[in-house]
């Protein structure tokens, strides 16, 4: 049985793809600027990555290898359902290996392994406008971007310092792209911000409900906003991954029981698996194996 018969390749009709493709090209030409686009209804609710799905559907070809991650993991609900969606509507090859993928659609993480020139990273974005919680009117935020008036964002970061003694923003940490547009990197942990800077891979951002597409071309300056006396810092973990012993990676907390037991493991599941295959073992891995 051919499951593809009832859909155009990759679900979207050709006119929609052209419209999105034009928006992507303009987004690449103006790094960090949010291009409005006529976002379509998708067979999944807003908030499930419809923006990223539409971008992926518009760039995807039959020779691509797709990887989908949700908070770094290949096996969580959102990642599994989007991967299955593209298998069904585009019959495209899928993988969980970062190395093998040509397109990686992501929800809120950047893979630990540095991306290459031949790869494109597609972000699912809930709120594309970094100034939205400071200024609710679109007409005003448009004007602020046009005039490069980003004082408000610095006030917000300053207020963080005044209240907490440090910049308390830990995710969706605002960046300035190529010295011009302030951009929301989507709710990735700020740990991932440095990976965006001069990345070899093209980075595309799709916000379905908010109807915006933006992009960071390869080798583009992406600088996290900060102050001279309060420089940008990424999260640090006081222990390595409990399963693969990796250091300098982003860790998730996993609660183990109701007596305060917990472990910290790699959020990037593929990276963690690779390391375990290569023989790296953390303290919890030994316990897990012994239990089996």
């Amino acid at each position: 049985m051919n499951d593809l018969a009832t859909y155009n390749f990759a679900y979207l009709d050709e006119q929609t793809k052209r419209m999105i493709r034009r928006a992507i090209l303009k987004a690449i030409a103006i790094p960090g600027y949010q291009v409005p686009f006529a976002s379509r209804e998708m067979p999944m609710p807003y908030g499930w990555g419809t923006g990223g799905v539409q971008v992926t559907a518009s760039i995807l070809g039959p020779d691509d290898v797709l990887k989908v991650i949700d908070q770094g993991a290949d096996d969580t609900t959102n990642a599994v359902s989007i991967r299955a969606f593209f298998q069904k509507v585009a019959n495209v090859a899928v993988t969980t290996k970062t190395k093998e993928a040509t397109i990686i659609q992501t929800r809120h993480r950047i893979p630990e392994e540095p991306l290459r020139e031949s790869q494109t990273l597609v972000y699912q974005v809930p709120i594309p406008e970094p100034l939205r919680f400071l200024e609710p009117r679109e007409t005003e935020t448009r004007k602020m971007h046009a005039l490069e008036e980003y004082g408000l964002m610095h006030v917000k970061l300053y207020e963080d310092i005044a209240r907490n003694g440090h910049i308390a923003t830990t995710y969706a940490y605002p960046v300035k792209v190529e010295g011009r547009y302030v951009m929301d990197p989507s709710p990735t942990p700020k740990f991932d911000n440095p990976k965006m800077h001069r990345s070899e891979a093209l980075q595309l951002f799709g916000a379905g409900r908010e109807k915006r597409i933006y992009a960071v071309p390869p080798y583009t300056q992406v600088v996290s906003l900060d102050f001279e006396d309060h420089p940008f810092e990424i999260q640090k973990f006081d222990r390595p991954c409990a399963l693969c012993c990796a250091e300098n990676v982003y860790l998730d907390e996993v609660v183990l029981d109701d007596r305060g037991g917990r472990m910290f493991v790699c959020s990037d599941t593929d990276h963690c698996e690779d390391r375990r295959c290569a023989g790296h073992a953390g303290p919890m891995l030994a316990i897990e194996e012994a239990a089996e």
Partner: protein, 201 residues
């Protein structure tokens, strides 16, 4: 009859997949300015519209995109070909065009005559598609900017004499400005408005 068949023939044989490969090449070339991308699907539009130029039109133009054509193209079968295959309205006003096409050896109008976008919506600007003699072998320029690792040398042949000045003026308008696709035979070279060009050596 010949003119008629010229209009109706020459589109993509397999529109979904051919448009997708052409778009991916364009996307990669815009993301990495200076890269020469060889299109794996081509159109056969009526002369003097070139094969690569025609493929770009089929990939990106439709009823939502007013198209401006150079005087020589307007006199050819190109307007009817574009209308039939893409549905794009051919208009006379350059500053309302989303796409503009100039044939090989045709005069390239000043970039500031096209839509440049507004400060709030710089994306509402024309993408200019110009066919040149060749994408290599001309006067070398050094390109720098987003998408370029350190610097890249480009040397398209058959650009207007004042190209560098036109481009510098366009760059100065950033974030407003046009974006440029140069085509020759089966290949494209894209220059987004962010690329800074200077004379080599």
């Amino acid at each position: 009859m010949t003119a008629q068949s010229q209009i109706y023939a020459g589109g993509f044989a397999d529109p979904e997949f051919e448009a997708q490969t052409v778009f991916r090449t364009l996307m990669d070339c815009f993301a990495r300015p200076g890269t020469i991308g060889r299109l794996t699907a081509l159109a056969t539009p009526p002369s003097p519209l070139g094969m690569a130029t025609g493929a770009v039109a089929l990939t990106l133009c439709d009823h939502d995109t007013p198209v401006w054509l150079s005087p020589a193209l307007v006199k050819s079968a190109a307007p009817n070909w574009i209308a039939f295959h893409t549905g794009g309205p051919v208009i006379e006003l350059k500053d309302e065009a989303r796409f503009a096409f100039v044939e090989r050896d045709g005069a390239v109008p000043g970039f500031d005559q096209f839509a440049l976008g507004t400060a709030e919506y710089p994306d509402r600007s024309t993408t200019l598609v110009v066919e040149v003699e060749a994408l290599t072998g001309g006067r070398p320029f050094i390109g720098r900017g987003p998408g370029i690792k350190d610097e890249v040398v480009i040397a398209p042949k058959g650009l207007p004499d004042l190209f560098l000045d036109l481009w510098a003026a366009n760059r100065a308008l950033f974030p407003r400005g046009i974006d440029l696709v140069l085509t020759a035979e089966e290949s494209v070279l894209c220059l987004p408005r962010t690329t800074r060009l200077s004379i080599k050596g």
